[in-house]
């Protein structure tokens, strides 16, 4: 039994299209049409789709989030800044920026922070989430990654980019129990069903990212 209304659940969801990658304009429009009456936390599109999506999502009253250095987190900082600036120019409200996960795993924490700070610096007042790849990290590493994001001025974490990187409720609980209200967490990657979503929320997730919003919300 659900303890949360569908409206409340939708308001915690960053919804993305899923299905075939490289969506056509028609497929994107079909996705926007499937959102139903709900107000989501945000609708996620890829950077090249922001210009197309912006007027439609404005009309629908939805926030628009796009993804930076995604999904591999392997862009150079200077490129991430250009990509982020372009996204903002095209009309993105929020950015999900992937951490330089190689730099992190190599122990180059200075680079990790500088890289995220470069994005934070150009996104004043906007929601920016840092993707830290919890699926690749142990608990200690996840906590360190969260610390680095905070150091860079980002207090919203996104666990994984999807594409096979799966988030567990434990990943979420670890961060929330350690940092409390200092940090927000969006559970992303492998959150496909209504039950998955409830489990993440029970673990303390502030938001859910899903490419199967219809399943999560029990829509047609």
């Amino acid at each position: 039994m659900s303890e949360i209304t569908l409206e409340a659940l939708a308001s915690m969801i960053d919804a993305s299209i899923g299905g075939t990658p490289a969506a056509t304009a028609g497929e994107l429009q079909g996705f926007f049409d499937s959102l139903g009456p709900y107000r989501y936390a945000a609708i996620m599109v890829e950077p090249s789709q922001v210009g197309f999506a912006r007027p439609i999502l404005t009309r629908l009253g939805q926030e628009l989030v796009t993804v930076i250095s995604y999904p591999l987190g392997a862009m150079r900082t200077e490129t991430k800044v250009v990509q982020a600036e372009q996204a903002l120019t095209d009309g993105a409200d929020e950015l999900d920026v992937a951490m330089d996960i190689s730099a992190f795993r190599s122990g180059d924490y200075g680079q990790v922070v500088d890289d995220l700070r470069a994005i934070r610096r150009i996104t004043d007042g906007r929601v920016v989430k840092a993707i830290y790849y919890s699926a690749l990290l142990n608990d200690q590493e996840s906590l360190r990654a969260a610390e680095l994001a905070l150091e860079a001025g980002i207090d919203y974490l996104k666990t994984n980019p999807g594409y096979g990187n799966v988030t567990t409720p434990h990943h979420v609980a670890l961060i929330k129990q350690t940092f409390g209200s200092q940090v927000k967490v969006m559970a992303s990657g492998g959150v496909r069903t209504h039950a998955d979503a409830l489990a993440m929320i029970a673990a303390g997730a502030d938001r859910i990212a899903t490419s199967t919003h219809e399943a999560v919300l029990g829509l047609a």
């Binding site: 090249s48 990509q83 690749l136």
Partner: protein, 242 residues
Amino acid sequence: MITTRAQLASYLDQTNLTLGATCGELETFLEVAVDTGFRAVCVLPNMTSLARRITAGTATRLATVVSFPLGSDVPAVKVAETRHLLDLGTDEIDVVIDIAHARMGHEDAISAEVSAVRSLLVEEQLLKVIIEMPLLTNEQAVAAARAAERGGAHIVKTSTGFKGLKLRGTTPEDVRLLRSVLRPETGIKAAGGIRTTEQALALIEEGATRIGTSSGLAILEGFLERGPGDHALPASPHPVAA
């Protein structure tokens, strides 16, 4: 006709695009690759400085990827990323097209974005354009390949090989299709799921002038074991374009 390991190695872009690989892992990968004599190494953008340092002064070319793996950037961002990477001394750029354009038949948009990136390259720098055939029909792939060629691609590359999308591997039929529609001087790079000597040789037989693989060592090792003279192959066209 490939009769030696060295000749086969000259077709191979030894690749490490592993999510979250450390600098230590890449250093080892690169040092072995340079010693082995591959045509090129292919690494992610955040590893290009490191790779440039290790490949400098060697015969191994440095390739990296732009807008990888999704290609879902506007041309201005692909141009910026390309500029950043060329400034570091990269020799070869493997750029992913906006695959949605290919799925919608927007060939002029593909030519335009390829041309914008191509305009940054000089002299011996090579542009490979990834059309992501596993996501396209044959008709879409042919149109995209031709559009990439019109835009100035030196080499058309079949696929990103990105594991996160669970794409099918590149097949000899893919290469045959491209070879049948592209100009003879346009190279073809086969990439995605290429693990064995047999696969590599079959793709080269159909006209692949470059193979992208993370299994370059195994592919070379397999060739030595079977001995030379088993495969008669066409001469590789124009060394620079290949």
